[in-house]
Symmetry: C2
C-alpha cells in the first residue's frame, strides 16, 4: 500500500503537508540490533525528570513518586502479549488473570513497598468470549484478594489479533524504606527468596505435552510429579510476604530487584546500577527437586534454567554482612554469593573453583 | 489445534489435572452482545475496594488514591491498538507519541487534577523500526515537556502483529478539588471547552485521501483548508490549561468528564453517574467552520460528528448556575445546556423546539 505521511514539526504547528514513504526519510534499523535494554536506554535517554514529585523515573522496577513528606508511591506498568508472553493453548484464563496481577505487584515488592492498587487493561480479539473474560477476572480478583490489593481501573479495546494485557500497579512505602537497584556495596551478601528455574521448566513441560497431544483425542498430558513446576509457571505468587518479613526484622536491603528475566540478567542489572561485580556459588543455588527430575528427562540443565529461565518472580537482594543473622531468622532466604569490586565482573563459581561469566542470555565458561 | 486446559481451583492449589476443550466447559457469549460498558460493569462488579487508601476505584476517568491528609493522586490507564485506534498508513509516529500522552493526561485533567507523570508501554511487531520508535518518543517527549509531565517508566514487549500502546498517567490534586462524574445537580449548567467533531472529520479526511491515493504515485493528498481538522485528530492537546483556569477563578465543577467517546455518550455517562437528565441545545453546539465545510463535501452531518465522533479530548463539565459569570471570564467555554430531573432523559433540543434523544451511538428523533 502507498504510504501517506503527513508530517509537520511538532513545535511549529501545521505548516505544510509532505507526502513521503517512510523509507524515503530515513534508514531502517531493526530493533534486534539494539536489544531490549539498549533500545530502552536509547529511547528514554532524552527524558529528564522535571517534576519535584518525581523521586525516581525510568530505570528501576518501578517509578517512585512523592506522596507526602514521609511516604512515596511506587508505580509500575507491564505488558503481556499473546503468542509472546503466553499461549492460550495451555494457559487457563483464570491463571492468566492471576499471573497478570503477580507480574504487576512483583515490581512494587521489588522496591520494598507494599502493593495497594492495580489497573488491568485488555486489548481483546474477537476469539475471546465473555466466559473467557469472566474466568480471567476471577483470577484477577483472587490474586487481588490474596495480596490485599484493589482493582481500581482499566481500559478495554478491541484488537485485530491476539490478546494484550497491560497491568499497572501502585504501592506505597516510607521514603527511607524504598530500595533501588543501585545501592549494593562491595562485600554485601547476595540473597534470593524461594527457588529458581521452576517456571521455565513448567513452561517447557506444557510445551512438550501440547506438542505431543496436538491432534490427539482422549489422551491426557503427563504432568504427574511436576505439579510444582506447573504451579510456579501458571500461578506465580509475588513475594509481598518478604517485604513484610523484612520490615518485621527491621532489615532494609541495600539493593533489590524481582527475578523476571532470570537470575543472571537481573543480577547484572543490580551490578550495572550499583557499579559493582558479583560472585555467586553454584552449590548454593536453590533448585527444586522437580527441576532436576524434569531437566534430566528433557535434557535441560536446571542451572541454566535457574540462571536464564526467567519469570521466577522471586526477589534478589543485597544486604550488609552484619544482617546475616536476621536473614537466617526469616527462613526462606538463601545467601548465594557476595558483591565484589566493579572491575571483577559477574561470575558463577563452580564447586571446583571454576568461574563462569554470567550473561544476560546463556553463559560461557571463563576458566576452570 | 487440540486445546489443552490444565485447570485447578485457584483457592485450593493443584489437586488434579483436567483436560478439556474450552467449548466443553461453558457456552460462548460474544462480547458484542454486552457492549463495552455492559462488559466492564459485569467484569468489575465483583471488585470491592478494601484498601483505605482507595478513595475511588473503577467507574470514573481515573482512580483516586490517598496521597497525604490533604492531597490525592489520580491514576488512569489507556490502550491504543493499531488497526483499531490508529492506522500507521496516515498516522506519523511522532504524532502518535504525542497523542498517546494526551490520551493519558486527558483523563487526569477530567478529574480536575494536574498530570505529573506518565508511563508508556509498547508491544512492538517486527515491522516497527528503531527510527519509528525514535520519532514516537520524540512526540512523547514533546507532549511531556508541553504539559510539564515526566515520563517515569514503561515496558517493551515483542508483538506477533501490530503495535499496541499502553499509557498510564498519574496526577495530583487537593482532595476537595477532585471532580467526579457523579456530582451533577438539577439546573446545573452544562459546559464544554473548545469545539467538537473536528477530530472525527480529520480522520474521515485522512481515510478518504488514503483511499484515493492508494497505489497512486506522485500525487498529493488534498488537505488544503482542513488543517485544523487534521491537527485536532493527529495532535490533540489535553485541556490542562482549563484545570489551571478554573483554579484561578476559584471554580470547582460539580461533575466532569473528558470527551473521548463523543458528547452524547460522555454526557450520558455523567447523567448515569449523577442520576440526572440533560437538555443540550443544537444552536449552542460549538462546531468549527472547517467541520461544516468538509461535512458538506463528504456528506457527513457535523452535528452527528460533534455528538458521536469522539476523540475530542475537550472537557465536559457541569456548574451551579451562580458560577455563570466566572465561566464567561474564562472565554473558551460554551454553555450548551442544563441538567434536568432523572426521569426526563437526555435530549438535544433543536431550534424549533424539537427534542432528539441522545444515544451513545447515533441518535434518533423523539418529536418535533
Amino acid at each position: 500500500m502507498q504510504k501517506i505521511y503527513y508530517l509537520w514539526a511538532l513545535n511549529i504547528g501545521i505548516k505544510q503537508a509532505i507526502i513521503i514513504g517512510m523509507a524515503k526519510i530515513k534508514g531502517r534499523t531493526e530493533i534486534a540490533e539494539l536489544g531490549e535494554f539498549g533500545l530502552i536506554d536509547m529511547l528514554t535517554e532524552p527524558f529528564k525528570a522535571s517534576r519535584k514529585t518525581t523521586i525516581k523515573g525510568v530505570g528501576d522496577d518501578a517509578a517512585v513518586i512523592e506522596a507526602s513528606k514521609s511516604t512515596a508511591m511506587v508505580v509500575t506498568t507491564d505488558l503481556m502479549v499473546e503468542g509472546i508472553d503466553f499461549d492460550l493453548t495451555y494457559f487457563p484464563p483464570k491463571h492468566l488473570g492471576y499471573k497478570a496481577v503477580t507480574k504487576g505487584i512483583s515490581d512494587i515488592v521489588a522496591m520494598n513497598a507494599l502493593p495497594e492498587q492495580v489497573t488491568i487493561s485488555l486489548a481483546i480479539s474477537s476469539k475471546i468470549s465473555v466466559e473467557f473474560l469472566k474466568d480471567f477476572y476471577a483470577g484477577v480478583e483472587f490474586a487481588c484478594r490474596e495480596a490485599e490489593v484493589d482493582l481500581v481501573g482499566g481500559d478495554t479495546s478491541a484488537s485485530v489479533t491476539g490478546l494484550t494485557i497491560s497491568i499497572t500497579a501502585v504501592g506505597r512505602a516510607k521514603k527511607e524504606k524504598i530500595v533501588y537497584r543501585s545501592g549494593a556495596k562491595v562485600n554485601d551478601l547476595i540473597c534470593i527468596t524461594g527457588s529458581l528455574g521452576a517456571p521455565y521448566l513448567g513452561l517447557k513441560l506444557l510445551q512438550r505435552e501440547s506438542r505431543v497431544l496436538e491432534g490427539v483425542v482422549g489422551e491426557k498430558p503427563q504432568f504427574e510429579g511436576f505439579e510444582y513446576l506447573l504451579e510456579r509457571y501458571l500461578k506465580p505468587r509475588a513475594r509481598y510476604d518478604i517485604v513484610r518479613s523484612l520490615a518485621a526484622e527491621g532489615v532494609v536491603p541495600t539493593a533489590m530487584i524481582d527475578l523476571s528475566d532470570g537470575l543472571a540478567s537481573d543480577l547484572m542489572q543490580i551490578c550495572r546500577s550499583s557499579l559493582c561485580g558479583a560472585r555467586i556459588y553454584l552449590e548454593r543455588m536453590p533448585i527444586a527437586r522437580q527441576c532436576s527430575a524434569l531437566g534430566e528427562q528433557m535434557h535441560i540443565d536446571p542451572v541454566t534454567a535457574a540462571l536464564n529461565g526467567g519469570e521466577d518472580y522471586e526477589l534478589l537482594f543485597t544486604l550488609p554482612l552484619e544482617a546475616r543473622e536476621k536473614v537466617a531468622v526469616l527462613g526462606c532466604i538463601d545467601i548465594i554469593g557476595h558483591i565484589t569490586e566493579p572491575q571483577t565482573g559477574c561470575f558463577l563459581v563452580t564447586p571446583d573453583g571454576g568461574e563462569i561469566e554470567l550473561r544476560a542470555q546463556g553463559f560461557v565458561k571463563k576458566s576452570e
